[in-house]
């Protein structure tokens, strides 16, 4: 009995540690006497524990897949890799939050509590092996996210962001649940494997019900990953939230949502499934619209934060193209994309955060002439922008190449052309920002205070994967390729 208990704990360790961490953070916060005291020790503690989580996750990467809690949760290499991405994203966001003025000093440890909570929800979502766990994951993830987005209490846009997010999110979760109930009605199970086995036996009306159910279910996930037409909340929430929260949102809930979408697609719509044809069509339209709307709207933005928000919608569109191909190759492409996107997003938000703290704005103006004030930071930011645009020799290019690779393998040339044109649109607004930094003349010579040597070192460190994964990407592709999905 005890053996059994601890046997599964081995693989479940990251989640357990995260939950313990969240609890201890709550206790630790209550122990802080001076409300405005910097939470330096708590920060170090959190990062250290998250590092342990990360080590555990890396240990799990090569392990055999296990299914626990009566197969409600599956721990397979796929979910583990997604968890690794999310954990690094969380650590990065927490690190930004420490120096960011956007998060009030008395809320810094609350931010840690919440983000670890979202991380736990995301882990559950990535590992979900039945509809109920999946729904639980979405809810854990969402409720804490609503709070995080309204962190700037005195700022009305932040309050609006939280409100908007909560309303939309609540609605979408409800619709998703409605969809799940349809699926349950038609299939008689919420367990992925049983649902998967039942699908080929369905006929006529039952198929329609499942299809309708999955579309409704997609509404819920679509909100989480801000896919068209459920992306409307994204810019406002991203704008209203403090920058560390925005960067966190751009990575963790998004990766979790994508992971769930991939898994569900593999259950219901895997190659050869009766439902796959209509699903592929739907996903293609959604992907095309998502990237087009995201990229076109990004052009007109005056705030860099909003620009990054819209560009993240564009990137989600690209990643959904990987879902269109519901097989290992598609999964590999999305995972690789996720890994590279993680580092690019962190750096972009990191630099934006420091500049907006310094100047009290996140418009293009604060970036003007950055090359003269902080050559290193400007060069890195330009590198990241080029990488986001998908230019070699940066990792974003390889991510884009992989996506093109899978859709062209399936001979979906039309969507490839849409994606190609979108790359050009995206390049335009990235160039606009790069231009401001490099060609513009700085107003003054003052140094940006946030860029301490330590912060610069962290940014430079995060840039290493952006640079090297564009040239030496074989190893990471292998890791992403080995991250297989096991449904039981």
């Amino acid at each position: 009995m005890i053996d059994q208990l601890f046997g599964f704990l081995d693989n479940y360790m990251p989640e357990v540690i995260s939950v313990v961490l969240m609890m201890s953070l709550l206790v630790a916060e209550s122990a802080v006497k001076d409300e405005h005291a910097p939470r330096v020790k708590i920060h170090f503690f959190t990062q250290a524990v998250l590092a342990v989580v990360l080590i555990c996750l890396f240990g799990n990467l090569g392990a055999k897949p296990v299914h626990i809690f009566h197969n409600a949760v599956t721990i397979d290499p796929f979910s583990t890799l997604v968890k690794i991405i999310m954990t690094i994203g969380t650590m990065g966001a927490i690190f930004i939050s420490q120096s960011s003025k956007d998060i009030y000093s008395n809320l810094k440890s609350e931010f840690m509590v919440m983000s670890v909570g979202v991380l736990i929800g995301g882990m559950l979502l990535a590992s979900a092996n039945n509809m109920l766990t999946l729904y639980l994951g979405i809810e854990i993830l969402s409720i804490l996210s609503y709070v995080m987005s309204s962190f700037k209490r005195e700022d009305s846009t932040s309050a609006e962001a939280g409100m908007k997010y909560a309303l939309y999110g609540g609605l979408s979760a409800g619709v998703a649940l409605f969809g799940i109930s349809h699926m349950y009605g038609a299939l008689g199970s919420i367990q992925f494997l049983e649902m998967m086995e039942k699908i080929p036996t369905l006929q006529g009306m039952q198929l329609t019900t499942v299809m309708m159910g999955s579309v409704l279910f997609f509404v819920g996930l679509g909100y989480k990953i801000s896919a068209f037409p459920f992306h409307m909340w994204t810019p406002d929430v991203y704008q209203g939230s403090p920058i560390p929260v925005t960067s966190f949102f751009a990575i963790v809930p998004k990766m979790a949502g994508l992971a769930a979408l991939i898994r569900v697609s593999n259950v219901f719509f895997a190659d050869g499934s009766v439902l796959s044809v209509s699903w592929v069509g739907l996903m293609m339209v959604i992907a095309a619209m998502t990237m087009t709307v995201g990229n076109v709207t990004a052009i007109g933005q005056n705030s860099v934060k909003r620009l990054l928000a819209f560009s993240s919608i564009g990137h989600v569109g690209m990643m959904i193209l990987g879902v269109v191909v519901a097989n290992e190759v598609g999964t590999r492409a999305i995972l690789f994309y996720g890994i590279t996107y993680l580092f690019m997003t962190l750096i972009a938000f990191y630099i934006t955060s420091h500049l907006s703290d310094m100047y009290g704005s996140d418009g293009y103006d604060v970036f003007r002439g950055l090359i003269y004030k902080h050559p290193l930071m400007a060069v890195i930011m330009v590198g990241v922008l080029f990488s986001l645009a998908g230019l070699p020799p940066f990792s974003g290019f390889v991510a884009k190449f992989n996506i093109f690779n899978i859709i062209i393998e399936k001979k979906y040339y039309g969507i490839a052309i849409v994606a190609a044109i979108n790359s050009v649109i995206a390049l335009y607004y990235y160039l606009k920002l790069a231009k401001t930094m490099i060609f513009g003349q700085a107003d003054g010579e003052e140094r940006v205070l946030g860029f301490t040597p330590a912060n610069q070192a962290v940014i430079a460190f995060l840039f290493i994967p952006v640079l090297f994964l564009g040239i030496f990407w074989e190893k990471v592709m292998t890791i992403a390729g080995n991250a297989t999905i096991y449904i039981k």
Partner: protein, 505 residues
Amino acid sequence: MNGILNWVLWLPIIGAVAVLLAPKAKENVIRMITLVTTSVTLLLTVLLYLKFDTSTADMQFVTKIPWITQFHINYHLGIDGITMLMTFLNALLFFICTLSSWTVEKNVKAYFALLLMLQSTVFGVFFALDFFLFYVYWEVMLIPMFFLIGIWGGENREYAAIKFFLYTFFGGVFMLIGMVALYYATGKGPDSFSILALQGGHFVKETITLFGYTLSFEHVFFWFLFLGFAIKVPVFPFHTWLPHAHVQAPTAVSVILAGVLLKMGTYGFLRIAFPIFPQAAVDSSTIIAVLGLISVIYGAFCAMAQDDVKKLVAYSSVSHMGFVMLGLAAMTSQGMNGAVLQMFNHGTSTAMMFLLIGIIYERSHHRWIVKPDGSKGYGGLASQLPKYTTVFIIGMFASMGLPGLSGFISEALIFLGIYPRFTTITVIAVIGLLIGAAYLLWMFKRMFFGEPNPDNHDFDDMNAREVFYMIPLCICVVVFGIFPSPLLNVMKVSVGQLVDLLSKY
């Protein structure tokens, strides 16, 4: 000798790193590092030329290292006769540009580092025998160019830099789709990205479905690649980025742009589009010829309408590259040889023109033949600047294609090659030559003859440095104008192989 291409390719990068490590204040050290790097690179390419075996069309000095084994992507380099000419041109022009950039004072370190990076990426495009590697270099090349135009360019540099970048990138992404489609058409085998293995017309019978229509794989992706290369050339109607980029770019970058970068486009046709999709190339030759013809005539008329001498030469590039396209469309031995020769000759003659304009710009800080207010920009330079005028005459006549200078032979070969296939087009294209002579002579008259402009009386003639870097170009246009066989011998076997392939379709 097999590793020599690696040296040629990576030496500029090593130089760029050295430049970046050098102290910022020591500007002359930075210039010297660049000069040494580009001279050694030039010497290496001369060595390549001497060791080059002109009797074979096979790739020489081949280096092949596995890069991404999952996708069978290799770091695969090699050169044939066509590449040899482009390699030499690239090395020569960067050496000259280093000297001509001696007077750059804004952010010297970044400038020379980017210049060297640019040289390396251009070599990469020419050497790559792996399509993926080719694509990577093709796109990376945009980054140094973007900064070189955007930081050191003229008043409207930002617009020009972005337009150049977007245009080329637009063509590039279509090339990417074509490249990946080829990878799957070959069955993901070990040679899927090898340009040499893809050559030979393996895809004639395949079909694809695009937006519900069943189309020929070969034709669709030929046009995808065509788009990528044609924008770079630039062929009408994809030429609109070029005048902006040229006018705004600093002198050395204009020289590189017209001298080598445009050739990457036509090189792409020769190395990739034509040999991989020969059937589509033959079927499309009329369209290519017509587009080439429009470029010739339209470019020439645009040049004639310019009051800005640099813009004039920029449009003349559109016109002259149109001749290259005509030569390619001919798909005969003479036409193709003429096209490749014209690529080299246009590289040297147009480089001369841009350098000369740069020299006069340094003195007058404008480039107006006639200023916007209607007054004379220049005038009577011939009596003031004898050395400058002499070199200008050589460059201008070479550009015009006067017999005895380099442009003549290549244009004559192109006309000989294309006449049997497209007689009408040939006849109309000849008018392009006349217009070319007209606008160049008219420009010359307005700049060099007549009363000297009083504003210009204090101009100095060319100094020793300027004369020094003009000499190699003068030698090129004069010697290869009379005696082109050193160039023709190098490339003819390689060109012959391509013509043989195309003649089967």
